[in-house]
Subunit: 341 residues, 2 copies
């Protein structure tokens, strides 16, 4: 593997000049640049990034911290992010965490060890951020949870308005004539801090506002963002609240699991029970029945967050908070039962 020394030797210039060519510094003659570039090309030379990072800043590439098993949702985000990083000549590394890990503590560990120059959190719990994000010094972006209220100068966020999205979802179900609606997802034993909490609270808002018949103990089942969890929750929910006509699952994976749970309970979707999801993963458009959902612009989520981070890295811009639009996608999984009555 060629090093900068080889390039220097082969081109007849010093490593200093070679380095200047690589980094597009001005003080290089046209002649030298041409010659050195030729050697670089012919040797297929690329700077060793360990050395570059060690020298430059002591910092490694940006790390994306992926939390939770909402992977089917995140997987395409990751690809999009990679693409943007690559376009800007940046590398990325990825760290996967359990859904119930403390992502901030994990990131702190990661920082002392690898000194990433930036962090992107894919999913996260605001409570953990509140507790310990102060220890993190590098620029970071929290994706999918709004950090506007957090007092951190180095933390941007890119999210959709989950509370509103959930409100919209419930309102959509109501507009289709549903009055007894069950909810699957999230849990009640944490403070408001994660995506699931916001969605849940958005839904509850509508119930309260419209004075609808909704009892948390009866009409709600906690669930993780997984098929299995959605399946189990749906079965339990149907036992507890047999009169509901619709279920709002706060994630598409939950919705998919729930549909199977409903079927296994001997009911039909959407004839007996309508199901509404959240996230807008690709499969909702191919499922039988197609699943009504709250679609987030995943691509936009990815691009915004990476671009924000890169800008802040390069130009020391200040952290910002973006809200990406969402959109209610009707689907066969929700039946309009208004006219029936």
């Amino acid at each position: 593997m060629a090093t900068i020394k080889d390039i220097a030797r082969l081109s007849g210039y010093s490593i200093g000049t070679v380095s200047r060519v690589i980094n597009h510094h001005p003080d290089v003659s046209e002649k030298a640049r041409k010659a050195i570039e030729a050697v670089i090309a012919s040797e297929n030379y690329k700077p060793n990034s360990n050395a570059v990072q060690l020298k430059n800043t002591g910092y490694s590439p940006v790390t994306v911290v992926v939390k939770g098993s909402r992977n089917v949702f995140f997987e395409s985000i990751l690809e999009d992010m990679q693409k943007v990083f690559r376009e800007n000549g940046e590398e990325v590394s990825v760290a996967f965490l359990d859904e119930d890990a403390n992502e901030v503590e994990a990131a702190i560990q990661l920082c002392v060890q690898r000194r990433p120059k930036g962090l992107i959190f894919l999913g996260g719990n605001l409570n953990y951020f509140e507790e310990s994000f102060g220890k993190i010094e590098v620029p970071a972006v929290l994706v999918t949870v709004d950090a506007e209220e957090m007092p951190f100068e180095n933390l941007s966020s890119v999210t959709t308005d989950d509370t509103k999205g959930a409100r919209d979802a419930i309102e959509y179900l109501v507009s289709q004539g549903h009055e007894r609606i069950g909810i699957i997802g999230g849990s009640l034993d944490t403070d408001l801090g994660q995506i699931s909490d916001f969605r849940l609270s958005g839904a509850l808002e509508v119930f309260n506002r419209q004075k609808m018949n909704f009892d948390l103990d009866r009409d709600f089942e906690p669930s993780k963002f997984s098929l299995e969890s959605g399946y189990e929750a749906a079965r339990r929910l149907l036992k507890k609240a047999p009169d509901i006509t619709a279920i709002f699952a706060i994630g598409d994976m939950i919705a998919l699991g729930a549909i199977r749970g409903i079927v296994d309970s001997g009911k039909k979707v959407p004839d007996d029970i309508s199901v509404m999801g959240y996230d807008g993963i690709e499969y909702t458009r191919y499922a039988v029945p197609r699943i009504a959902t709250v679609r987030q612009d995943i691509h936009e989520l990815a691009v915004r967050s990476v671009e924000d981070l890169l800008w802040r890295l390069s130009y020391h811009r200040v952290a910002q908070h973006f809200i990406i639009d969402h959109e209610i996608i009707p689907g066969e999984s929700v039946k309009n039962i208004r006219e029936e009555k």
Copy 2:
């Protein structure tokens, strides 16, 4: 951020001794070890991995090259792999590639730039390996495609027997009374080199052996490993070959897309058309109908490949080729039509 120098200063020992403690070298007194470990703990010190890698070998962590958008299948593999790496104190980075990228050329680029100490290919095309893998010097593992026939000393492979899996799948369909079977997936214009080719050829074997009525032009549709592609292919296939009673989709994502395509063509699964998938992704167990598939032990695939690489890295073991078992999983998506006749 503390460096080894700080630890040396704070503990009163030299950086040499500190380094020896970190790396568990023998020549250190119990007293020094205790003292230094105490300082390391109190400072929350971790060696800067750029420096370590630069010094040690010039090599960065193992990189996983993920090819193609069979992500729903790969996503859980990635997590499992990360886990094993982490258990062994190793880092990983991930590179995502398009389904039609040349993963070997991409890896070569990656090698000159980042000098990973090892590579794991998640998916790949043997033809590319044949052409250019010779240029890669680090130990590598090819996951999901058998590289037994390749003449490379530094390339292990961990796969299931895709040809046999496809044979088993077709035989299963036949055992359920299907005689006119269509196939979706892969393409015919490449040499035998990728997973899809092997599955396709396995299926064709059975047709030939059993002298079944199968015409490539009529009963086969190429497809990528994606929902959309599977959807389109199914629609085209049903037009061309309206008399088939079953479809073998060479990937579960394709199968899921195909089912929607079948439904949109006005037919029912499995009453009119049975569908069999391949891969065994989690969702096949929750879909309505549950999808019959060829299940691969994804966890085993992940663990084997990482462990093989780590062993070879540590003990200079020779490359090996593992075949992981597969298993036919019956499902509601395949109807037994034998008794009908």
